[in-house]
Subunit: 144 residues, 2 copies
DNA sequence: ATTCTAAAACGAAATCATTTCCATTTAGGA
DNA sequence: TCCTAAATGGAAATGATTTCGTTTTAGAAT
């Protein structure tokens, strides 16, 4: 039982249930970037009973309280991952192994200036995600 | 019948059917940014019979051949819009009136350098969308 | 103008990710 | 140990999107 995760849940005002911790462990470990169904399939063996709605619910709650991060993939499915970085940043996702790297700067300030100069508008939110192949997968030639 | 649109369809190797043209007209006019269902509802009156699957199919085909552009909204629904700009660029979408502005630069080159320097990885694609309020809506105080 | 054929459209039904509902179980403070 | 709000199960609902087999149509060829 990873105390860091218990701690994170406490801070978020959520009970540290075994299933929640298992989900966090999964996201903080091997399955760093996964869809609700993928996580469910991988966790089913560990629990006699584990409903898919529970996984959805927990992922959504964890994302809402900022413990994990949610992204919308181009295929329109939801994916979640654990990310301890509390600063504003974005992510580079390896299309092969799904490893996620933080991208601290996003140059959004320049774009905001461009928008306000061009249309007088105001940027309230933005979506930025980089997809590609990480160094490891490039070396191995794994271009799945 | 807008000849520009007929032309665009021809170039894409698609037949210029009345329904397709109506969809394009809609996207190039009043409903510049709309979901499949919204377009369907607005076009139903003009045609005795118009199936929702037809709207979906056409939007997908038009997007595939680059005549229109598809984006995933934060609410996870699909939206499409007409965009004549053939250069690489991104979009600023007004959350109130849904007007779409092109953002020619996206600063992706700097981020690509960052990724390759940090992890040795390679960026293959990226998603960037700015959401906010356009100048007009800001003035009118329409912060729906 | 008529014929012909591949492309387009129909609409009902299927699909499939996600959510809801409500009865049951459980974490963790009292 | 008890208690209560929070968490979970599982079946069923939801709702966007797609599939299927059939019918219609655009537009090239005659």
């Amino acid at each position: 039982m990873d105390q860091r995760h218990v701690q994170a849940l406490k801070q978020a005002g959520m009970k540290a249930t075994p299933k929640r911790l298992a989900i966090l462990d999964m996201l903080d470990g091997e399955s760093s970037f996964a869809s609700p169904e993928e996580l469910w399939k991988r966790l089913r063996d560990r629990f006699e009973r584990l409903g898919l709605p529970t996984v959805y619910r927990n992922l959504e709650e964890l994302a809402a309280s900022g413990v994990i991060t949610k992204v919308i993939h181009p295929n329109r499915q939801l994916y979640y991952f654990f990310c301890g970085n509390r600063e504003h940043h974005h992510h580079f996702v390896c299309l092969n192994c799904r490893k996620v790297e933080d991208i601290p700067s996003c140059g959004i300030e320049a774009l905001e200036r461009e928008v306000s100069g061009k249309t007088g508008g105001k940027v309230l939110s933005h979506i930025l995600q980089l997809n590609g192949l990480c160094g490891g997968c490039l070396e191995k030639g794994e271009n799945k």
